[in-house]
């Protein structure tokens, strides 16, 4: 039986720190295989950083895994 494909997962928890010059806070957690749990966690303060993280995540999902 063929192995089931790994499921990648990314979650973004976002909130607003009122009164800050850069109020966005987004905690990103991600993994290339949900069976292994979250492997990377980072918090960012700019929307572009969130977009970049999502882009890289999706590129990794689409790229073949390294041996």
């Amino acid at each position: 039986m063929a192995d089931a494909p790994a499921i990648a997962l990314l979650t973004i928890r976002a909130w607003c720190e009122e009164g800050s010059e850069s109020p966005l806070r987004a905690e990103i957690r991600l993994t290339g295989d949900v069976a292994s749990g979250f492997q990377t966690r980072l918090t960012v303060a700019h929307a572009e950083s969130v977009v970049n993280a999502v882009r890289v995540f999706l590129e990794d999902v689409l790229s073949p895994s390294d041996e």
């Binding site: 997962l9 010059e21 850069s22 806070r25 949900v34 918090t43 303060a45």
Partner: protein, 219 residues
């Protein structure tokens, strides 16, 4: 006794819902990528594999599933505690919340589970318990229980190190206890962390909290 994974997930799902759920909905949520027939079959299997004690905890009809009325779930008690702490000051409280309350509010919900239905509930509980820990810190400090108040605030800080409101709660405890130097140290630690991790400064609101305590060094 260790339950099979499917049975564990079933009990956890029913516990989180806290009410009767249509069997179809249970099966579809727990086995989202399976066909309806396979999901139903997996649900029947999960129910069949419950040992006697666990089976008695499930109320099962032809249509619905839920936990039996005599089952208690620690999360329900913790949620109730959190809501009591967040209620207006005039509301009655049961007992004097202290270390046990801090422990209950410090527990994450199913931290190593990544099912979608768990993630949403876990985030909901996370926000509730963090706000409750901050409220508990303020309440304990007002009663002069500074050690427990600091513990409550620290529990919230540990859960969200970059969030400002738990730091503000901790700083308020230090100020209330008459430790301005400790308050300033906490402010400095937080400022350094924000700079290192995010390249931002604390808000004016937080700076105002420590402004009268001594020198507040701005970048």
């Amino acid at each position: 006794m260790i339950l099979p994974e499917g049975s564990q997930r079933l009990l956890a799902f029913l516990a989180l819902k806290g009410r009767l759920i249509r069997r179809q909905a249970v099966a579809g949520t727990l086995w989202p990528v399976a066909t309806e027939d396979h999901a139903s079959s997996s649900l029947r299997s999960a129910l069949a594999r419950l040992h006697e004690g666990a089976r008695a905890a499930v109320e099962s009809t032809a249509r619905d599933l839920g936990l039996s009325g005599d089952v208690t779930v620690d999360l329900w008690d913790s949620r109730e505690l959190a809501h009591r702490l967040l209620a207006p000051q005039g509301s009655p409280s049961a007992g004097d919340p202290g270390p046990e309350a801090i422990r209950a509010l410090s527990r994450e919900l199913l931290p190593d589970w990544y099912d979608e239905w768990v993630l949403v509930e876990a985030e909901d509980w996370r926000q509730l318990r963090l706000h409750a820990l901050e409220a508990l810190a303020d309440r304990l400090a007002a009663r002069g229980k500074y050690g427990d108040a600091a513990a409550a605030a620290l529990a919230a800080v540990r859960a969200e190190p970059l969030r400002e409101s738990p730091r503000a709660a901790l700083i308020r405890v230090h100020i209330a206890e008459g430790n301005p130097s400790e308050a300033l140290r906490e402010f400095a630690r937080y400022g350094e962390l924000l700079e290192l991790e995010l390249g931002v400064e604390p808000t004016e609101r937080l700076r105002a909290l420590v402004a009268d305590l001594g020198a507040v060094t701005l970048r």
